[in-house]
């Protein structure tokens, strides 16, 4: 059961990572007309169309992570403490707190991406999107590394 939840947690994170990376690049480095490369296509998306999906995926990923958290707290964190791997625990603690701050950012993120896009909120829209992308990338990498050190479950 825990393994299944972890896989769904990871899948939601992957989808969200893709959506937020597309969206961030589309606002920070918008594609010019005429480009035909894969990277050009990656940036040439309508960022606003990702906003609702990102919110839903973020909440779903946090919910799944919350269900998994007690298993981590009992089995993984104490294992790291026994081995004095405090940096591994530290980066995971940071992940938990960064993700929480990101959760609180979602209402503002959704508001800034509401259609029609308000020009006076362009800077905030870019900054909040980049902040969320950073949080999700950090959480994804740390989650993957920590799972690789110990594995998961009892």
């Amino acid at each position: 059961m825990i393994t299944t939840l972890l896989i769904f947690h990871g899948l939601c994170a992957v989808f969200m990572l893709g959506a937020l990376t597309h969206q961030s690049l589309s606002v920070w480095w918008p594609a010019r007309a005429g480009g035909g490369t894969v990277f050009h296509g990656f940036r040439a998306v309508r960022g606003a169309s990702y906003a609702n999906t990102v919110v839903v995926l973020y909440v779903a990923t946090v919910l799944l992570g919350s269900i998994l958290y007690p298993t981590y707290r009992i089995g993984v964190r104490s294992f790291f403490e026994d081995l004095r791997l405090s940096a591994a625990n530290g980066v995971f603690e940071l992940k938990e707190h960064f993700v929480s701050v990101g959760l609180g950012l979602l209402p503002a993120y959704w508001y800034f991406w509401r259609q029609p896009l308000a020009a006076e909120m362009a800077v905030a829209r870019k900054a909040v999107t980049a902040l969320l992308a950073f949080i999700v990338w950090y959480a994804f990498i740390v989650g993957h590394v920590v799972s690789s050190i110990r594995g998961f479950g009892p």
Binding site: G90, A108, V123
Partner: protein, 118 residues
């Protein structure tokens, strides 16, 4: 005016309240992971058998309720001078500056995991 205008206020308040809740342990409830028990506010398990106490969900609840109250107060303020203040150009900027600062504060608060703190 739409309630959504105070969403940035919620986000700023949530970030500030979260770091305060975490640093001061203002958990609305505690979960004992091994025993599977919820307890109101901050609860220290009497025996190690109950397993470690989890406060994270409690901090999230404290922050969410607190931020909802702050946003509710902002929404209830009449339009005009006070209402204008909540929807002033400063709020979109605060919405990313404050959470960014909170992330840095979190790194500072958790530095003990990475370096020796006197």
């Amino acid at each position: 005016m739409s309630i959504a205008r105070v969403f940035p206020v919620f986000s700023v308040a949530f970030a500030v309240l979260y770091v305060l809740s975490m640093d001061n342990n203002w958990a609305l409830f505690t979960y004992l992971a091994r025993a599977g028990e919820f307890h109101p506010l901050v609860y220290a398990p009497p025996t190690p058998r109950a397993g470690p106490a989890m406060y994270w969900w409690g901090w999230l609840a404290t922050s969410a309720i607190g931020a909802a109250i702050v946003a509710g107060i902002a929404a209830a303020l009449p339009a005009g001078r006070a209402g204008g203040r909540w929807s002033s150009p400063a709020w979109p900027t605060l919405t990313w500056v404050v959470p960014l600062a909170v992330l840095m504060v979190l790194v500072f608060l958790l530095r003990g995991w990475f370096i020796r703190v006197a």
